[in-house]
Amino acid sequence: MPPELLRMIIASVIVVAFVFLNAMILGYMERKVSAHIQRRPGLMEVGPHGILQLLIDGIKLIGKQLIVPEGSNRFLFRLAPLLSFAPCVLPFVVIPFSKKLQIVSMDISLIFILAMTSINVIAILVAGWASNNKYSLFGTFRSVAQAVSYEIPMLLSLLSIIFMTSTFSLQGIVAAQKYYWFILVQPLAFIIYFISGMAETNRAPFDMPEAESELTAGFHTEYSGMGFSFFFLAEYANMFTVCSIATVLFLGGWKGIPLPLGDFTGIVWFMLKVYGLLFVMIWIRWTYPRVRFDQLMSFCWKYLIPFALVNLLITAVVVKLI
Amino acid sequence: MHPATEKLVTALSEQSIVLNECDYAERGYHFEIDLDAGRLREFAQCMLEQEMYLVFVGGLHVDPAIEIIYQFASYDRLCRLVLRVVVDSNNAIPTISDIYQGANWHERETRDFYGVIFIDHPNLVPLILAEEDVDLKPLLKNSDNIKESAAVRWVTVEEQPETDEKADTD
């Protein structure tokens, strides 16, 4: 077997395992952080301080039956979770965890990642439609409108960085942050990107599609067992992807103060930065109430997009002059 | 008496409706009126113009006929009013839900509990009871515990020697 292929296979297995591990760690972090914000201990039962809770949750969910509602399109109903999960795993293939820890290095890595996150919209549409449930349909409409709208400021803010670096390759962008991190010169783009990222992954305060008190659970109301857990995994994988793009483009990627760990210093710094951003996402979720849907849309179209365009224009002018 | 309450008394007496003043410490309301069903709607219209709000509409099953009790009060002055109206022979009474929209639900509930029909009510379907229990009429009394209308009213002091004494001390 050619060593390249072997390397690819091992890397793919590691990536999928990492996605599951990430969901576990992130799920645990979310529950513990939210508990401490709410002045209660949180997970304590299963394992010391509840460490094993998410693992047991996963095993429990595997054991449950996926109940297909009557009158729903059975094929689409079963397809939707897979359609949601698969494009969420693929971006992990191109994320640069360290100088040499990147499974595939492409010249257009960034475009690849953005394309994959857009496929998620189709999965939500399929899930809501196939559920044969008014509440799911409601959640789907809201979710699709939200996801499609917030992609625009996301792209525009990322384009500002691309103008500066002239490359879509993620390793190239990290390499271009040799002397300073890009957040210092593009703070507005960072804020716009972070907000759009939260809206893309349906996180509060933009979680109208899953608004529990209005619509029960939105587009994944009818899913149980592994179907639900695939949506859950996809959401956490998406969060990780959004934060890692933010890290790579704005916070210097895997660069940091050298540690005596050889090539692995890169991954340590990368993980620290990504999990720091994830902590901020979780913090915001548990502090703010939900934004009303029309306010959400007007915020995107009337505020984020004009600001992102202005930022892009200024970047273009400055890059041309320097 | 508050000037607005005087205005109310005057407005009602212009329509020849007599208010009986009551002892607030004993009864908790200031005026009591007995009307017949035909004058109910103009009374309610007058109440709305005098800026009173509807506290509740309730039923009372006495011999010989069910009485509907309305209580009105005011937001800006201390004035509480109890109105009693007897239903007609078909167990029906006009609605006031186009004047006071809050009466809509009160009347539906009274109909649930007593079976009283409110004429011209826009949506007289059961509110608190289930649709199947329209004929249940739970608050109707049966023949061994029903009382007469006079038996549940305050005993008024008629021409007694005490009233003459009272007039002397005034």
């Binding site: 502090t287 | 004993e26 608190i128 005993v155």
Partner: protein, 378 residues
């Protein structure tokens, strides 16, 4: 389901006729109790919301016709479970009024202190629940933390944490001691510091303001036609509070304000309730300072002899004006007891108020009305 609302047109000109029915409840994370709201929707807009009641109906008024006052006392605590003491108060005070029984001063003060503590507890529960409806998961835990302090205090003296049955005709059933007074003063001090937390987390929160400002405006005319009372009415600027307008018990001895709002929207109703907590703290402080010694329960015959006639008693419950109306034919069992519940009239505004609103706004408006369904259904 037709409603005769001839004077109202649909609020928006929606070009295509995509109407459908959506059912909110009776089991639903948003409604506060078992309430079903049948919504006729057009896209995201609510064309006609119709509450469907009766899921929690227990026929309390019939039970009152077969029980003497002591047997019915526990029922009064179970109608509005979030603020049960004013319900107790209205019921016993009604019998005291009709029989002419005088309550000792200490008992009246104890009644006022415990009722106001109960009002604070109820408002805290409301703040947490309303924010939970809007998607903020944290404030409810903070308000429940504050509630715990009060529930411990009240449990010591009444024996219950939620459904109180503490008042008796002639007074209260157990006296308060120095421990109670100390703990209450400590609570007052702590609560005043907590207002800062709520103001930062909720009152000044831009997302909360945007969700509630201008939503569900109730005008004076609408309020009068429906009989709206309580903080819902005071949010619209009308200073009607039974404790000031029709004083009962020892409320005339205390100095407190009636907070009102200006615009009548959901945000004003929130501000009114937050301010009412502060006013309740003032009342409790003054009552503790003025607390007299003496008996806490008057001597009342075991079998009350009521005169024939009718009587009415109004109290300010946490949600509005609660009126008990009693018709008696002599003896000790009422002939008819009518319980007029504040949330009933407040909820009846919903069809007119929420026509043409977005679904999220309906959730915010309904949340701001502070409904407890068991009291509506009785």
């Amino acid at each position: 389901m037709e409603t005769a609302q001839q004077n109202l047109e649909p609020a928006t000109d929606i070009p295509h006729d995509n109407r459908y029915y959506l059912n909110m409840g009776p089991q639903h994370p948003s409604t506060h109790g078992v309430l079903r709201v049948l919504l006729e929707m057009d896209g995201e807009y609510v064309i006609d919301p119709q509450p469907v009641l009766g899921y929690g109906h227990r026929m309390q008024e019939k039970m009152a016709e077969h029980k003497n006052w002591m047997a019915f006392m526990p029922n009064t605590g179970r109608m509005d479970y979030a603020a049960a003491l004013p319900y107790n108060h209205g019921y016993v005070a009604l019998f005291e009024r009709i029989c002419g029984i005088e309550v000792p001063a200490r008992a009246e003060y104890i009644r006022v202190i415990t009722s106001e503590l109960n009002r604070i507890v109820s408002h805290h529960l409301w703040i947490g629940a309303m924010l939970l409806d809007m998607g903020a998961f944290t404030p409810i835990l903070y308000t429940f933390d504050d509630r715990e302090q009060v529930l411990d205090i009240l449990e010591d003296v009444t024996g219950s944490r939620l459904t109180y049955c503490y008042f008796r005709v002639g007074g209260v059933c157990k006296d308060i001691d120095d421990n109670f007074v100390e703990k209450t003063r400590a609570f007052i001090k702590r609560q005043r510091e907590r207002f800062d937390v709520y103001n930062k987390l909720v009152t000044g929160n831009i997302i909360f303001i945007k969700r509630t400002e201008g939503v569900g405006v109730i005008s004076l005319d609408m309020a009068r036609r429906y009989g709206v009372t309580g903080p819902v009415l005071r949010g619209s600027g009308i200073a009607y509070d039974v404790r000031k307008n029709e004083p009962y018990s020892v409320y005339p001895k205390f100095d407190f304000d009636i907070p009102t709002g200006q615009n009548g929207d959901s945000y004003d109703r929130y501000l009114v309730r937050l301010e009412e907590i502060e006013q309740s703290l003032r009342i409790i402080e003054q009552a503790l300072d003025q607390l007299p010694d003496g008996p806490f329960l008057a001597k009342v015959p075991k079998k009350l002899k009521m005169p024939t006639g009718d009587s009415s008693f109004a109290v300010e419950a946490a949600r509005g004006e609660l009126t008990y109306y009693l018709v008696s034919g002599g003896g000790d069992i009422p002939y008819r007891l009518k319980i007029r519940v504040p949330s009933y009239s407040n909820l009846s505004v919903l069809p007119e108020l929420c026509q043409g609103m977005l679904l999220s706004d309906l959730v915010a408006a309904m949340g701001s009305m502070d409904l407890v369904i068991p009291e509506i259904d009785r």
